[in-house]
Symmetry: C2
Subunit: 464 residues, 2 copies
């Protein structure tokens, strides 16, 4: 008899080829020009779910943030009475590939190099989401059925805020009833080190728009005319000081200090600041609030980052203009116990307060996500840790991540589902940047980790 692991090992090449087919679809959810491609990706995944044996496969339309809404893909298999039910979450949309000229191979032509697969979405999240399908396929073949009940919910708006799925989950639909969720959208702490992520930062993504005049002015009026960009720079410089401390009053009050044992476990992680700086950040220095360790800055403290500043003259050459309007696309990352609504209100009020004279400012919330934290002694987390330790031959570590996965908070809050964040990305995978990649070994061992976890989870009693 072939075990699920045997089957997965025998079909590695086919699994990889199937992933490449999915990666060729440029499902950039933020760009209206790619609307049809996003839908094509959804339809393709629905077809794959159907092919491997899932039932009730369908697209669920939502009223999301993108112009027309990108659909959810749903599927289930519910013929294991008495066994627990798992909800697999993933996303089939990807970040824009720009700047294109920095890619070594085309972003939507998956290319293998040095044991990695390079493509936009390779790891975030098509590659990791696809592991769930392949693990379930292997279980189907090996067992002739599934050892537990399975649901899939795969979204297409994760990279544009995911408001469609958030609104859907908030309605507590009965077809999402489950005992736990599995999300593979995080990274391993180090290559070969099995890692479960138990904490996420939330975020508020905003636009700060300053208006200084009715129309652009010749800069000969400089010295008396307000300048939208000068004013905006003054505002931005007052949100976080040059050393990295957030200056918005009250914003740090609700920050939850990590438990002593969690802080201790972080200290035992294999970590070289210098290597992190060089390999991951690629910067001259690690910066930030030096009252905190690097892990605390990334996982347990809020922050503020500017993403770009549209407006004004950005062409070649010199235009002596005082721009009437300047905008900053900027976000704050939030940590456990902070609320996005409260943080945005303080953020907006503070900006109005520090806005220089002579200009007006408007602060818009583009999207938000709540932070989340899951206890490490949760039974599904423990089963997952055991399965990963078995596959990778090393003790599984527990970390948090500095990024945000809004759906994790939503599944927890609305459906009471603990999320097992079993991720197989690596720190140098270039998420959201040119030359995104997925380590091929992680893709294959990730599939094995998931199917072993499901086999052991099947033996656990559902909570109720």
């Amino acid at each position: 008899m072939t075990t699920a692991i045997d089957f997965a090992r025998q079909h590695q090449q086919r699994f990889l080829d199937e992933l490449k087919t999915l990666l060729r679809i440029p499902s950039v959810s933020t760009d209206p020009a790619h609307r049809d491609h996003v839908r094509q990706a959804a339809t393709h995944i629905a077809g794959e779910l159907n092919r491997i044996g899932l039932e009730n496969v369908r697209l669920i339309e939502t009223a999301g943030t993108s112009p027309t809404g990108h659909p959810l893909v749903y599927a289930d298999w519910l013929h294991a009475p008495g066994a627990p039910t798992v909800l697999f979450y993933g996303h089939y949309d990807v970040q824009p590939p720009e700047p294109l000229d920095e890619w070594l191979s085309p972003p939507f032509e998956p290319t293998e190099r040095d044991g990695n697969l390079y493509a936009r979405g390779a790891v975030d999240d098509k590659g990791q989401m696809f592991m769930h399908l392949k693990a379930v396929e292997a279980l189907f073949v090996a067992h002739g059925k599934l050892p537990l009940n399975v649901r899939f919910l795969i979204e297409g708006e994760e990279e544009v805020g995911g408001e469609g799925i958030a609104a859907y989950v908030a309605t507590k639909p009965t077809n999402l009833a489950a005992d736990f969720a599995v999300v593979s959208d995080t990274s391993m702490f180090a290559p070969g080190l099995p890692t479960l992520c138990v904490g996420l930062r939330g975020m508020i993504y905003t636009e700060i728009e300053v208006r200084s005049a009715r129309t652009d002015l010749h800069s000969g009026y400089g010295g008396a005319a307000p300048n939208s960009f000068n004013a905006l720079a003054h505002i931005l410089a007052k949100i976080k000081d040059a050393s990295g401390r957030i200056l918005i009053p009250g914003i740090l009050d609700s920050v939850q200090t990590p438990a002593e044992d969690e802080l201790r476990s972080w200290q035992s992680l294999p970590f070289s600041e210098d290597e992190f700086r060089e390999t991951v950040l690629g910067s001259q220095a690690i910066v930030g609030d030096d009252r905190f360790t690097v892990f605390e800055r990334l996982w347990a403290q809020p922050t503020f980052d500017v993403h770009g500043m549209p407006g004004g003259f950005t062409g070649v050459g010199a235009k002596t203009v005082i721009p009437a309007k300047a905008t900053a696309k900027a976000s704050m990352r939030l940590v456990p116990n902070m609320s996005s609504a409260d943080t945005f209100a303080r953020f907006r009020d503070y900006i109005h307060q520090v806005c220089p004279p002579g200009v007006s400012v408007e602060v818009r919330l583009i999207h938000s996500a709540e932070p989340s934290l899951i206890p490490v002694d949760n039974p599904w987390i423990r089963a997952a840790a055991t399965a990963m330790t078995q596959v990778w031959g090393r003790e599984t570590v527990f970390v948090r991540t500095g990024g945000s996965i809004p759906i994790v908070g939503d599944l927890q809050r609305h459906l009471g589902l603990p999320c097992v964040m079993m991720g197989f990305g690596l720190a140098d995978d270039n998420l959201h940047a040119p030359n995104e990649k997925f380590c091929l070994r992680n893709f294959h061992l990730g599939i094995e980790s998931i199917l072993l976890f499901l086999e052991s989870a099947a033996a656990l009693r559902p909570a109720s």
Copy 2:
């Protein structure tokens, strides 16, 4: 016998039609895509100069700042022995028309509305430069010859820094020998108020580029990863404080305080701060260093303005990226006694000094211009003032301008030429902005002012 003024009045419609033909050529010098149009404008003007009777008409190639260099247009008529020689300067290149959607009529289809002619370049500087040609044409017809010697030097790189003409003038070419220059690239202080400009600010136009990492990063690393835009905002906020004071040490030391009588004359100008704010700036407030009057801030104090900040994510939607590179296009305006070289050195050194930790910064000088100041008792200035008073029926006022005309400083420094800046723009002409216009009455009375000035200047003895 027809006087020159009679002739100009009889041919107003033709003069205007000829100007429209010139304005239809989109000679945007900063944009390589318009290279052929810029040359077309040069050739067109050469043809016009030839047609009205100038001699030695030719294009002079320079090694300017634009990709291939845009030529100077030269012409002369030197058959008035014993009479002085005037050098007319103007420019045939224009600013980019963007943002296009804010124009009420197409920028390169000159359109008359409410006594104004709307087009890119209508006043800056095609319309004003063309007045020189029409004044000379009227003198030719009325006198059968010219009452003084005339040279024209018209450039096509004024809006991209004018380094070609600067290098050319610096060689002190014999064919630029003259007694004074006439430049019409400034504005009247108020509608109907004849105005001579005797002072100009200089400038350094720069790019400040901050690098924070090898490549863009996912903003989940925020809090520990340096951010190029956050760092650049901190730098910009330290150059000029929120109240408008330049914070660069030593930069104000060489600023020349205007003479008492010049300050007094400014106090007598018809000026309403509120009207200036509303009509000219179109802003909520006049800002700047409140130790100085508005005229001092605009004419006698340096300033710093950001024009745009290319880099990062500026598209629609939300991209959670920490940009590896941020740039500010920014300039300082300089006032009499400041040198561009010294100012740039202090500017660059200061930026390196205030640059936050963890990032590197590079400061590039794109172009520069020296400030200039001409005594109001200069004989050519006095003759010009008398001619303008005669045409407009009001006493001519003397002002400075907050803008820069680099060639004025160059003609003064290299050729010893005092520049008569006889300008006919108005404050609401939308220079460098959408809906640029030229008041039709000013175009016609400007031609009359220039030809009367030339007739009286012809009677003055050359300096040597």
